[in-house]
């Protein structure tokens, strides 16, 4: 006799929630992983916030703005970084625990898996960025919440960018195995200086500026700085960031789908069993 089961829609929801719960167990039972979620964001805010305060205390022209850029930059940076690292290391967790084959032999769809990991990543993001927001308010008297909904829109774009970059990382790990896992931690640190996280990209060497301009992160951080400085949302900049994010997401989805096809075709699942 069969057991009672959910219909297709509820089944999908429960599978997504089950994956999110599985990763909650991982965090719960491996407290050292809180370093990524909580400790590093707090350390970064204290570091860059203090540099900003020091710069501002020198009373040079524009020093206040440098402090603002540093604080806004570090908060937005952790949005994109946490989003990316949560999804990418979520998949790596399956490879470390050799669970890939067990998961593939269930009704779980690939996109349900990604949604589940991203969902729990969102919870971690809220905790991490929430802590950072409280610290910049308490330690540096900077109220991020006071900036308004425009900053939430910028953060939402960076969230999607983080997830899209994670798709590339997953694709690389599917194709090249666990040797590619260094990308999970390293890929964004290549993007970071080019995106002008803490400064306008005019400050970059001229040779690198065209490359910076094609990154959606560049326009998202620029829009974030503008809004944080009390100006209205620069819709042109935001539009470029949104279009770039949409393009990056499509390319990321295409890449991971392609790599998954190769993964199945070449039998790479045996690497994880």
């Amino acid at each position: 006799m069969s057991l009672p089961t959910y219909g297709p829609a509820a089944g999908t929801m429960w599978r997504v929630l089950a994956i999110a719960r599985r990763h909650a167990y991982v965090l719960q039972r491996s407290p050292h992983r809180l370093f990524d979620v909580l400790v590093w964001p707090v350390v970064d805010v204290l570091l860059f916030g203090s540099i900003g305060v020091f710069a501002a205390s020198q009373a040079t022209t524009g020093a206040q703005r440098v402090a603002l850029y540093l604080l806004v930059g570090v908060i937005l940076w952790h949005v994109v970084y946490q989003a990316q690292i949560a999804v990418a290391t979520g998949f790596l967790e399956e490879s470390w625990s050799r669970s890939v084959l067990n998961l593939m032999a269930t009704p779980l769809r690939e996109w349900e898996y990604i949604f589940g990991v991203a969902l729990f990543g969102l919870v971690k993001l809220v905790v991490g960025v929430g802590a950072v927001t409280v610290i910049v308010w308490g330690a540096f008297a900077f109220n991020v919440a006071g900036i308004g909904p425009a900053m939430i829109a910028v953060a939402a774009l960076l969230l999607v960018i983080g997830w899209s970059i994670a798709l590339f990382v997953i694709g690389l790990v599917l194709r090249f195995g666990s040797g590619a896992e260094a990308f999970a931690w390293g890929i964004l640190f290549v993007v970071m200086p080019l995106s002008g996280v803490f400064y306008p990209v005019d400050a970059l060497p001229a040779l690198l500026r065209p490359l910076a301009e094609i990154l959606p992160t560049t326009h998202a951080f620029s829009a974030g700085r503008t809004v944080a400085a009390g100006n209205p949302m620069p819709w042109g900049e935001f539009g470029l960031a949104a279009a770039g994010t949409a393009g990056l997401t499509l390319v990321g989805l295409g890449y991971v789908t392609w790599m998954l096809r190769i993964f199945r075709k070449r039998g790479f699942v045996t690497r994880y069993s």
Partner: protein
């Protein structure tokens, strides 16, 4: 409720499966049918193509040629529907370290769409005599206990087809007996078909009604243990196995 369109009495039908890797052809035109409630062993020397065949039947590896249907659901298009009726366990797959046994089983119960995964998990643990492990962490289990939990995981949603890759490789004889008894009960009570790979010929003879021998990626024999030993003129399955491993020559004729 789990529903499916069965194609007659067939749980798994794979035809003309071919898989070529860079190192050579792993599977070369395998036809494999498992009836509803039938217990079939897939045997062969290392490198014969058993695991690749199983992985293709699970949708984890895509065949270069051939077709696979599970209870009427064609892979890869209907993989999600098909997998709702399939359970899989392998003796070599570990349990994640950071979860308790019941949490692990609950996760897979949810993935299989069960409304009450905890009830199914407890019933499965009881069937295989390991109810006391429900709250144990993955790290606290012996390799045999991990294997048992893996089998409970694979069977907890009452699948129509249970695929087991070397399920008793790390078990002592007493626990292996418990596993065989549990699997036979599942097959009798629920009509679950079994597709099992093993290197333990005695176990295969005790558990399975039919044996499919692979060599060099091809089916070289298909029948009951007695039929196969007769065909090869050997004393038992182990002797047939050793003969095939030793000759590693061209197929000796496909039986059906």
């Amino acid at each position: 409720m789990l529903t499916c369109d069965t194609d007659g009495d067939v749980a798994l039908r794979a035809s003309g499966l071919v898989k070529e890797y860079r190192r050579g052809r792993a599977v070369d035109g395998v036809d494999l049918t498992v009836g509803v409630g039938e217990r079939v062993a897939l045997l062969g020397p290392n490198g014969a193509g058993k695991t690749t065949t199983l992985l293709m039947c699970l949708g984890a590896v895509r065949p270069d040629a051939g077709e696979i249907e599970i209870l009427g659901h064609r892979l890869p298009r209907q993989r999600t529907r098909a997998m709702a009726h399939v359970g899989f366990a392998a003796g070599y797959l570990p349990l994640p370290a950071q979860v308790r046994v019941l949490e692990y089983l609950r996760l897979f119960g949810r993935l299989y769409g069960l409304r009450r995964p905890d009830d199914a998990a407890r019933a499965g643990l009881e069937r295989f005599g390991i109810s006391d492990l429900a709250r144990a962490m993955g790290t606290e289990l012996s390799s045999g206990q991990k294997t048992l939990v893996g089998i409970v995981k694979a069977a907890m949603h009452r699948p129509r087809l249970l695929v087991l890759d070397e399920p008793t490789a790390s078990l002592d004889p007493a626990v292996a007996l418990r596993v065989r008894t549990g699997l036979r009960e599942l097959s009798h009570e629920l009509g679950t078909a079994l597709l099992v790979t093993s290197h333990n010929m005695v176990e295969v003879e005790r558990l399975c009604e039919r044996v499919v021998f692979l060599s060099h990626g091809r089916v070289v024999a298909d029948g009951t243990a007695a039929e196969i030993t007769d065909r090869f003129g050997r004393e038992d399955l182990e002797d047939v196995f050793l003969h095939l491993a030793k000759t590693r020559s061209a197929p000796e004729g496909v039986a059906g």
